[in-house]
Structure formats: C-alpha cells, structure tokens
C-alpha cells in the first residue's frame, strides 16, 4: 500500500510520520504538498501534527481551505482512509469530516507527556489489530486538544462506537485525573460514521521505537495496513 502525508505550511510532524512509516515500518509513503490537487493514488492520507498556518486564528481553521483538502474530502467521500493526528484531527473537525471541535486545554497550557489510552472500538480500520479495552501508551503534545461536541451528537457517537480511543489511567480507568485536557467523556480519538476517517490527539508516529520510549503507535499503523491488505 502507499501512504500520503500532507504537508501544510507549518506542519511539523510530517517528517516524523514519514520516518515512522518508511524507515521504521518499511512502508511506502509520499509527501503531498498542500497546493497540489492530486493525491497520487495513495490508499491512506495522513494529516500530520503541527501548527498549520501558525494556527493563529483557530487550530486547523485555515488549513481546511488548502487546495489539497478538496481532494482529501473527495477521497473520504469515496471511502478512502484518512487519518488526522493532532493538528490533523483539528483540521478534520474544522472541515466537517469529523464531528465536534477541539478547543483550548482545560488547564490552559500546552501539555507534552505520555498518556494511557483505552481502545474502545477495535473494529475500525485504525484499531483492528487491537483488542477492545486494550491500553496503548502514546504521547500527546498540544495546547488545544479538548474535544467538545453537542450533547445529542455525543450520545450518537457513543452509541455507534465512533469513540475509538479514550484517555485513561494506567489501570484503564477513565476519570478527571486521567483526562489531560478536559475532553468530553475523556475522548481522545473519534471516527466518522462510515469509519473511514479517524482523528486523534495523541501521536502514534512518536511511539514506534523502543529507543524513543515505546512502540504502541505501530499497532495503529499496522491496523491500517492490515485493513487494506
């Protein structure tokens, strides 16, 4: 399979995603410039972390208008797999490909640390190799990762299993102490209704090597590979 990683001005973790996919996993990945309109036949599009356009107005608000996003939207409508990590998640919410929005962390400051996540739905293309209830250790690094969504929508998301990852403590319990940014229902990652678009605040691409602190992120990328195989 071929991965495509979109580069917006201000993308930062684009090279990290590329390194994780190509160098660590040995997969094939190409970088997609924000101005281009072609996706070059990739099977999964990754919107990486960073501060697209400086995130000066609202995270992801400007990037959603980049020329390439038209193609990404079309690709998603056709069922193509789209993965948004951190800023990528924010862009997906802003462009309406995912429900909800990401606002400033409850504690008001940027947080960079490793957190525990519980796999809530292991039947998505993004988590297929996980078990339900399995714990993954991934780093977060964001200032605006508090997931919010309307009450009615939240109930639907929960009911349909669109909540894919939740912040928990090391024992797997969700709660205010294990919720780093104040997200509604401790939500860390969400799928769209068709389960082909997934956004998460934690960074799987920063958890692919033991040397750098853990490999749980590989489970996510490998799930996608397995799904497409």
């Amino acid at each position: 399979m071929r991965w495509g990683i979109v580069q917006f001005p201000g993308s930062l973790d684009d090279r990290d995603a590329w390194y994780a996919l190509c160098r660590v996993m040995g997969a094939e990945a190409t970088l997609l410039w924000h101005r281009q309109r072609e996706l070059g036949g990739v099977q999964c599009v990754v919107l990486p972390g960073g501060f697209s356009y400086g995130d000066y107005l609202r995270c992801g608000a400007i990037a959603r208008f980049a020329p390439i996003m038209e193609s990404v939207t079309r690709f998603a409508a056709q069922g193509g797999l789209v993965l948004g990590i951190c800023n990528g998640f924010q862009i997906l919410c802003e462009s309406g490909l995912l429900p909800g929005a990401l606002v400033r962390n409850q504690g008001l400051s940027f947080i960079c640390e490793r957190v525990w996540l519980r796999v809530e739905n292991a039947q998505t293309p993004f988590t297929g190799l996980g078990r339900p209830g399995e714990l993954w250790r991934l780093p977060i690094k964001h200032g605006e990762g508090r997931y919010v969504v309307s009450g009615a929508e939240l109930a639907r998301l929960e009911q349909r299993g669109q909540i894919v990852l939740r912040y928990v403590d090391s024992a797997g319990r969700a709660g205010p102490d294990a919720n780093p940014n104040g997200s509604l229902n401790s939500i860390a990652g969400v799928c769209n209704e068709r389960f082909n678009v997934f956004g998460l605040m934690p960074h799987p691409e920063h958890a692919v090597e033991k040397l750098l602190g853990g490999e749980d992120g590989l489970k996510l990328f490998r799930s996608i590979e397995a799904h497409l195989a």
Binding site: L57, A61, E94, A101, N105, G182
Partner: protein
C-alpha cells in the same frame, strides 16, 4: 471600510480562560467580578464601495472562517473609516 467582528465562546462550552481571568481579577481586589468571557476581536479593513458590500463580505468571512459555529457565537458591525 472597517468591519469589527466579535467572537465569544458559546454559553454551553466551558470557558476556562474566562474563569481564570475572573479569578485573577478577584484576587486583584475586584470582587465585583461575577464572570468573564474571553473571546476574539477582529478588525478587518476592506476596500469596498459601500457598507452593504462590507456587510456581505463580513458575513462570508465569519461563516467560512472566522468563527466555528459549534463552539462560538459572533456578531459584526461595519464602520466607515
């Protein structure tokens, strides 16, 4: 023509920044502060011929970019320079 845009967090969305500011003001001795909302204030300078055109541009700008309808309310006003 100037367009002034006022953006505030929606009532139902927790506004920790507002809460922090309120707290800080109270600890400065302003105990009269009941609550604070922290929003955004944008001033757009437009090269348009009429207030109507400015209003139209403002509407488009707010809808498409400036505010997120899920989390924010907005209003705007036009002011000749």
């Amino acid at each position: 023509m100037l367009v002034k845009v006022f953006i505030t967090p929606k009532e139902e969305i927790l506004d920790p920044a507002g809460r922090a500011v309120a707290q800080a003001l109270r600890s400065l001795g302003l105990e009269q502060v009941e609550s604070v909302k922290v929003g955004k204030y944008l001033v757009l300078r437009l090269e348009v011929a009429s207030p109507a055109q400015a209003l139209q541009a403002a509407a488009k700008a707010c809808e498409q970019l400036l505010a997120n309808p899920l989390t924010e309310d907005y209003r705007y006003e036009v002011e000749p320079e």
